[in-house]
């Protein structure tokens, strides 16, 4: 004890821990360094989270993930293949220039045109689906031209940010990676790679989407985003008051954070659906009864309670309960080992089956837990942990797909079925790792993708979910909450399902 006092005194004398805390300085402990500051040149959710503090898109999410106009003022469909967007006026870039239709057209051309970013094509092009062109109508109006009807366009516009044409042309592709000139509430003043980003409040900020209450300037004068990749270190930084917000709070640390009078847990339902893809094209999972048996064999509630501290919603299908067209009437595959064994026996496996579950590093623990539960029901499961991209390649569409099971997930930031249902379950979809193929589902998804009447569209998807549920191409798992830790000094901040940091209203006292 005496040693501790001496050490503390020594440290204090050396001025080691005397961080002068600025009154309106917001500190964030964040898992990953942004890969780039160029909003058109990455495919990383964390990078987007950070970039959205500096950049805006035409469309944003409201508090309940509803779509709200941000840099757009409004949008309307001229015909199923043309959408017109009215732009907000008086929006300023950080450099002081005013945003115009030219900037918007330039931003989207940069995304769409092959080779537009220093000779390379934007990795975000795929997120714009059948959009072929964006044209200027007048100073405040642009039109999106599509090669096919695509009602989900407004939702997909949330993934794209608007850059300053003059600045981008002047800075070049390499410059854009390290410099920004966005329209967002904060402007970047310093980026120490791998260590921290410093953002300054932008006095000329237009205030953000009016639909989101208390539109106006950002609250905190300065934001310091500290990159702390280690989970334990990030939580420790929160507990000691060094940072006010941390992302990816590990579920097992919830108790510790709640027990501390100075810290809180903040949670939001995520948009990522977790599932075990079963290889539908190969024995034993080419038999629907075996797939159903696997669903009955898994005690999802136990895993959610124990591994995720209850912070997840069990799913019976592909869609998030918050998503468009969610079918709330899907029955549940109840945890029932007897039934699982009976189904296995009916499928000709009275003595059970031996299978392998592929997983990447981060899913290792969950995979082990799932494997031990399946094994108890006669589906003797071995876990094979591989590197993320290696496993992905193995299960990719067009890959060899020689595995039995793969625990994976699919993000659905738009909360629209086109962005998750089509890729993961349509025949030949790029994320259809199960190799699932149902003519009926394909037809329904195609109809849903074209239909512009919302109610009819929802009905297509609900029906498709019922079919998928019965066919059980996956072991349906869950939708975890995104967990954050916050300081008790923090007000006005709520975590967003999109994962964006949304710092405009975050204040520290």
């Amino acid at each position: 004890m005496r040693l501790k006092r001496v050490l503390i005194a020594a440290a204090a004398a050396a001025g080691l821990q005397m961080t002068p805390v600025h009154a309106s300085e917001l500190h964030i402990g964040f898992t990953l360094d942004p890969l780039t500051l160029d909003p058109a040149n990455h495919r990383s959710r964390e990078t987007e989270s950070v970039l959205r503090t500096m950049y805006n898109g035409l469309v944003a999410h409201g508090p309940n993930m509803e779509l709200v106009p941000e840099l757009a003022e409004s949008w309307k469909w001229i015909d199923p293949q043309t959408m017109e967007v009215k732009l907000r006026s008086g929006v300023k870039f950080h450099s002081g220039a005013t945003m115009t239709a030219d900037d918007v057209v330039y931003s989207f051309t940069r995304l769409l045109k092959p080779g537009a970013i220093g000779g390379k094509t934007s990795p975000r092009k795929g997120l714009l689906g059948p959009v072929t062109d964006v044209v200027k109508v007048d100073e405040h109006t642009v039109r999106f031209v599509l090669s096919a009807p695509w009602p989900v366009l407004p939702a997909m516009l949330t993934f794209q940010e608007v850059v300053n044409k003059d600045f981008t042309e002047k800075t070049g592709a390499d410059g854009m990676a390290t410099h920004e000139d966005g329209t967002g509430p904060y402007t970047m003043t310093q980026w120490r790679r791998g260590d921290s980003l410093v953002l300054q409040r932008f006095p000329g900020y237009f205030g953000g989407a009016p639909a989101i209450p208390s539109a106006g300037k950002a609250c905190a004068e300065r934001v310091i985003i500290k990159i702390i990749p280690e989970n334990a270190s990030r939580v420790a930084a929160l507990l000691s008051g060094d940072v006010d917000i941390i992302n990816e709070l590990p579920a097992h640390d919830i108790r510790t954070v709640e027990a501390n009078p100075n810290t809180r847990v903040a949670a939001v339902n995520g948009t990522r659906t977790f599932f075990v893809a079963l290889n539908n094209n190969r024995p034993p999972f080419n038999d629907v009864r075996v797939r159903q048996a696997a669903n009955h064999a898994l005690n999802r509630k136990l895993i959610i309670d124990k591994l995720l501290n209850g912070r997840a919603v069990a799913l019976n299908g592909v869609m998030s309960p918050a998503a468009f067209g969610f079918n709330a009437k899907l029955p549940e595959y109840a945890y029932d080992v007897k039934q699982a064994r009976a189904l296995l026996a009916a499928a000709g496996h009275p003595n059970g089956i031996d299978v392998t579950l592929d997983a990447d590093g981060p899913q290792k623990d969950t995979a082990e837990a799932i494997a031990s539960l399946l094994t108890q029901a006669g589906i003797r499961t071995k876990v094979a942990v591989g590197e993320g991209s290696q496993v992905r390649a193995k299960w990719a569409n067009g890959g060899k797909r020689e595995g039995d099971m793969w625990i994976t997930s699919w993000g659905n930031g738009s909360l629209d079925p086109t962005d998750i249902f089509e890729p993961t379950l349509m025949t030949g979809g790029r994320g259809n790792s199960a190799g699932y193929s149902s003519k009926q589902v394909d037809t329904l998804l195609a109809e849903g993708g074209r239909e512009t009447d919302t109610a009819k569209r929802a009905a297509f998807y609900e029906q498709a979910q019922s079919i998928v549920h019965a066919d059980a191409p996956w072991i349906f798992l869950w939708l975890p909450q995104d967990l954050y830790g916050t300081s008790a000094k923090l007000t006005g901040w709520k975590p967003a399902a999109s994962g964006w940091l949304n710092l405009r209203d975050a204040c520290v006292h």
């Binding site: 791998g194 270190s233 060094d242 993320g388 790029r430």
Partner: protein, 335 residues
């Protein structure tokens, strides 16, 4: 040293560096997984797009052709594009390099500061209690798994006692203006003692973790070479001349004993370079080691390749210079 000998040694470097480059190149080229596909993962790419990217990246050419262009580009400082940053690898590495150099230098200084005094004391009091303690200590030092010890230090001093920061290289409030990119040097240049204190506080635990095994080895080398020197005639002679013991130790013995220590220190920089990966991961240090580890798991091979090559070339050159120094400084090695 004769220029001819220097030239001969320099020429010997060439095949070594070339061999190292071949191995690094083969390591990454024979790795399963197509970089073009990795780059286009999740982007709904058609096979044609993959093929065209493969062509752009030169992946459709034969291995020897690719090696030649790899060497040619590398000599010009071009290591290709980092698949995930979508920027030149050289730029991405250059941004992370100062932090790694600073940490390695701090670890080296820590190791020398601990090893030399302890080694001298152990040798002078050989067989005594201090010698025994130092010996046991050095055995612990080489046996400690750095990643584990680092976690324990972090838990004790940063999390529980809250004496030292948990992660990173500096706090924002204490950042010195950037001149060289090395935080300690920049603090001194700008005269900001608070920055220096903060940078050192961040450096302390990672540097100790990284430097400890090296300190253990260097301590033993210093001790052994001190013992050797102390037995030499000229020391006995100096003693006979009535020079004070402290003076003899400082002037004659230590000076001569340091040469092997420096040489071994050069060899042991290899453990510093490798240890960086582990220590930077544990302490969230914004350096190259952490970047390499992260890059392995996303299969960002151009970056891993360039970093491994950089580490190896650095190591070869450090040893080359140490070797030269040894030859120049050691009177026993004939020119």
């Amino acid at each position: 040293m004769r220029p001819a000998l220097l030239l001969q040694r320099l020429l010997h470097l060439v095949p070594v560096l070339l061999g190292v480059t071949v191995i690094v190149f083969l390591m990454m080229s024979l790795t399963p997984g197509d970089p073009a596909e990795i780059m286009l993962a999740n982007q709904n790419a058609t096979p044609e797009q993959v093929a065209s990217l493969r062509h752009d990246m030169g992946l459709d050419r034969s291995l020897p052709v690719r090696f030649a262009s790899f060497v040619g580009n590398a000599l010009r400082g071009d290591f290709g594009q980092s698949l995930f940053h979508r920027r030149p690898v050289a730029d991405v590495i250059a941004e992370r390099l100062p932090a790694t150099i600073e940490l390695s230098a701090a670890a080296l200084i820590f190791a020398l500061l601990v090893a030399i005094p302890l080694g001298v004391v152990a040798a002078v009091h050989r067989g005594g209690i201090l010698d025994r303690l130092a010996t046991v200590g050095s055995l612990f030092g080489v046996s400690l798994p750095g990643f584990w010890f680092g976690i324990l230090l972090l838990l004790a001093f940063a999390v529980n006692l809250r004496l030292l920061p948990v992660s990173g290289a500096i706090d924002f409030a204490h950042q010195p203006p950037t001149v060289t990119g090395f935080l300690t040097i920049d603090s001194l240049l700008s005269g900001r003692l608070d920055s220096l204190g903060n940078a050192l506080a961040h450096l302390l635990l990672p540097a100790v973790t990284l430097g400890l095994p090296m300190a253990a080895i260097l301590m033993r080398v210093t001790r052994a070479s001190m013992l050797e020197v102390l037995r030499q005639d000229y020391i006995t002679f100096a003693e006979a001349k009535g020079l004070s013991r402290a003076r003899i130790l400082a002037l004659h013995a230590l000076k001569n004993a340091l040469l092997p220590t420096v040489t071994v220190a050069a060899i042991e920089t290899g453990s510093l370079l490798g240890g960086n990966m582990v220590v930077e991961t544990v302490f969230g240090w914004p350096g190259l080691g952490r970047l390499v580890v992260e890059s392995i798991f996303v299969r960002n091979y151009p970056l891993v390749q360039a970093a491994v090559l950089l580490y190896a070339v650095t190591y070869v050159l450090v040893n080359f210079v140490a070797d030269l120094l040894y030859t120049v400084l050691n009177p026993k090695v004939r020119m």
